[in-house]
């Protein structure tokens, strides 16, 4: 029998109804998500049968919103990879209540990201060629290797961190689980009984995984940026693209984590575990990252602009002019850099509500930024486009692309909902191991 503390018990009680049965409200929610995904599947069907002509992509802009989504999802997956990996290694106690949510974001976003890159591929029937004829010189091969390793790492990390909890669910008499669920937990708990050697085994492997997941995360977003960096195009061919992307990813990951914590705290009344100080600390992390991100952005565009090379100049003209991408570019810098710094810096604004709001804006800005990295560059080839077909000159997102984008978000939420049926969103075991004074129990 696993022992749990009073606080642990409270967590278990909070999430028990959720794991035991699915309410009508939840069913409606799931049905809604499935509807969105259904529309996406129809869009995908059209894209496969009619062809990629149903998207806005054409010969100049060969990639569009899908690639932006791909970078975006892999980016937010950094929530867990770095937050929990890093904080784990530094043995920061306050991380414990939030690691489960962070790791779930990591795993789910890493599953969804690559789906978007598949949507750009013209011949899905030949995907096996990637393995059969793999060429190590290609950044796409690097991506395939890095992302699959990263996903495996993320899943293992999440699993290791959950074994104790699975053992708790298996043994708990307070949880009224259906037979099959208990059997699932029994299997997943791997006969864990809290013996010292088992305890040590998990501890050591967790440390190892945390050590590994950080460099892996750095590699993933670096090779992702190199898909762009290795080409000869302005706005892409930049030596700082690797670190720029990595930083942007951690940054947007932190934003999504703050939003998720805020929503779950509201939804499950977790004020006892997810404290204001969590938001404040994550806010500080966000501030540092925002400053770093701002620095990279400034350095990137200043260098490009100052050098005033002709080809680069054509791109910058589009990014800076009002009738093209100027408005969006300004938005990404205000909402993505200045506002977050401002909100965290002013003590009166450093409240969970405002932090969540500014995070939402920032995450949106980061998505727009990815779009601005991909599309304007492709619209600016070395030899100016000489075409009169409007769709070949300017990319515009079609409903098919929007439908699949929203399906991706819906799938993200759906997988999160399903995960919440199988685990408590706050790890019971970690809470049980926490010193009492770090938890505000209901009584206090």
């Amino acid at each position: 029998m696993m022992k749990i503390s009073a606080a642990g018990n409270q967590v278990l009680k909070t999430f028990a109804p959720q794991m035991e049965r699915t309410t009508l409200r939840e069913k409606a929610w799931i049905a809604f998500l499935l509807c969105v995904i259904g529309v996406g599947i129809y869009a995908l069907y059209l894209q496969i049968t009619v062809g990629h002509t149903v998207t806005g992509m054409r010969d100049n802009v060969v990639w569009g919103i899908y690639i932006a989504n791909f970078i975006f999802f892999i980016g937010i997956s950094y929530a867990g990879a770095v937050i929990s990996g890093f904080l784990h290694l530094l043995k920061i106690e306050w991380r414990k209540p939030i690691i489960r949510i962070a790791e779930l974001i990591t795993v789910i976003a890493t599953i969804i990201g690559p789906l978007f890159i598949l949507l750009c591929v013209g011949r899905l029937d030949r995907l096996h060629h990637l393995v059969l004829y793999a060429r190590l010189q290609s950044p796409i091969t690097w991506d395939v290797l890095a992302i699959s390793t990263y996903l495996a790492g993320g899943v293992i990390f999440l699993y290791l961190a959950s074994i104790k909890d699975f053992a708790i669910y298996r043994d708990s008499t307070d949880l009224h689980l259906s037979k099959w669920k208990r059997r699932v937990f029994k299997f997943l708990a791997l006969n864990y009984h809290d013996t010292p050697s088992q305890e040590r085994g998990i501890h050591v492997s967790m440390n190892l995984m945390a050590l590994m997941i950080i460099p892996l995360a750095v590699i993933v977003h670096s090779v992702l940026s190199w898909i762009f960096g290795m080409t000869l195009r302005p706005g892409w061919h930049s030596t700082i693209f690797g670190p720029y992307f990595v930083l942007a990813a951690i940054y947007s990951g932190t934003g999504v984590l703050i939003i998720a914590l805020y929503i779950f705290r509201l939804r499950y009344k977790l004020e006892a575990f997810i404290l204001d100080k969590h938001f404040t600390y994550l806010g500080y992390i966000m501030l540092v990252l925002a400053a770093g991100y701002g620095y990279f952005t400034f350095s990137e565009y200043l260098t490009d602009w100052y050098g005033s090379e002709k080809w680069t100049g054509q791109l910058l003209k589009k990014l800076f002019s009002w009738n093209e991408y100027g408005g969006l570019f300004l938005f990404t810098n205000i909402a993505g850099i200045i506002l977050p710094i401002f909100v965290v810096a002013v003590p009166a604004l450093r409240k969970p509500k405002y932090l969540a709001m500014v995070s939402a804006l920032m995450v949106l800005a980061m998505w727009v930024k990815r779009y601005l990295i991909v599309v304007p560059t492709l619209e600016t080839p070395l030899l100016p486009i000489e075409d009169i077909r409007p769709e070949y000159i300017k990319y515009s997102i079609t409903w098919v692309e929007w439908a699949l984008t929203f399906s991706g978000i819906a799938l993200f939420l759906l997988l999160f909902t399903i995960a919440s049926k199988f685990m408590t969103l706050i790890p019971v075991s970690e809470i049980s191991e926490m010193a009492e004074e770090n938890i505000q129990t209901k009584e206090s």
Binding site: H52, R126, L232, L383, D387
Partner: protein, 318 residues
């Protein structure tokens, strides 16, 4: 593909007066084509042809197709290239008047629909003060090809004889090569390509680049199938002004069909250069600067259909 009873193939070139194009006509009954493409309507116009056994036969003209007269080499063989050769092209900008014969010949040879141009004629203006000039642009078959580097499956490759080709039966359609090519050379089949049933039935070879395949990338291939026959690419022979010189760097000769010259001499004497040399891609296509031009640039705008003329609006400042 099954063979129809009354199939007519390999007509004599002179019979069709197409010798200059170096193509032959093949008639192939679309009704028996096994590719599941829709049958074409008969035009009602009859053509008399000489069959290989010396018989005169009459067929409907809609059944006439010009195809590569060669059957391309196998996909495996196409990866190696023609031993001992090093293909090179020289484009004389001083002679071009945007006659667009190269474009249409290329499209005909590769069965491309009108809006798909592997070979483009661009109007260039290097700076606001500089005079505009016509700039035919093929694939540059770079010696340091950015597209080949990035291909994850080795579907686009560089051969011994200098050519960069694509195996569209291996291509997964990731379009990375299109993003990597700085010259906007490659085109993608965004949906099922427009081509007749007979063409779709042809045996594919990376050397002929025919038929086109949905979801894959294609581009100018320098017609190595013609080179194997000792003939010039169609753009070269179709140009009325002898703009294109094609040849072999190893032998140091290039020819535009009328005139055969030393490659190194013409580059030296005429100040040949490669486009955007600073990118380091090392193109195999050289340009001769538009000096002492045969035609004023406006000649190239004469008689152009509106949709093509409008492409040049930005450059002309209209």
């Amino acid at each position: 593909m099954e063979k129809p009873e009354n199939e007519m193939t390999n007509q004599r070139r002179d019979f069709l007066k197409n010798a200059a194009l170096g193509v032959a006509a093949a008639a192939c009954g679309s009704a028996v084509c096994s590719c599941g493409k829709k049958e074409e309507k008969e035009s009602g116009e009859k053509v008399v042809l000489l069959s290989p056994d010396g018989e005169l036969v009459t067929i409907d003209s809609s059944h006439l197709r010009q195809v590569h007269k060669t059957v391309g080499v196998s996909r495996e063989e196409a990866r190696h290239g023609i031993p001992g050769r090093k293909f090179v092209m020289v484009i004389d900008l001083a002679r071009c008047k945007n006659a667009r014969k190269c474009v249409s010949a290329c499209q005909k040879m590769h069965h491309l629909p009108e809006e798909k141009e592997w070979l483009q004629v661009r109007l260039m203006k290097d700076s606001p003060e500089a005079p505009p000039y016509w700039f035919p642009k093929t694939c540059f078959h770079c010696d340091n090809p950015p597209c080949v580097k990035v291909c994850p499956v080795d579907a686009t490759f560089k051969r011994q004889d200098g050519l960069v080709l694509i195996d569209t039966e291996r291509c997964i359609g990731c379009k990375f090569c299109m993003a990597a090519c700085p010259y906007s050379t490659r085109v993608f089949n965004w949906s099922e390509p427009e081509q007749s049933a007979e063409v779709a039935c042809l045996t594919y070879s990376p050397e002929t680049s025919v038929p086109s395949k949905v979801g894959t990338v294609e581009k100018c291939d320098f017609c190595p199938d013609m080179a194997r026959q000792g003939e010039l690419p169609d753009c070269v022979t179709a140009c009325p002004n002898g703009v294109f010189y094609f040849g072999d760097e190893n032998e140091d000769v290039v020819t535009n069909g009328d005139e055969t010259v030393r490659f190194s001499d013409i580059i030296k004497d005429r100040g040949g250069y490669r486009f955007a040399e600073e990118l380091g891609t090392e193109p195999r296509v050289w340009y001769l600067p538009p000096k002492d031009r045969l035609f004023p640039v406006e000649r190239g705008l004469e008689g152009l259909p509106d949709d093509i003329r409008n492409r040049y609006k930005d450059v002309l400042g209209e």
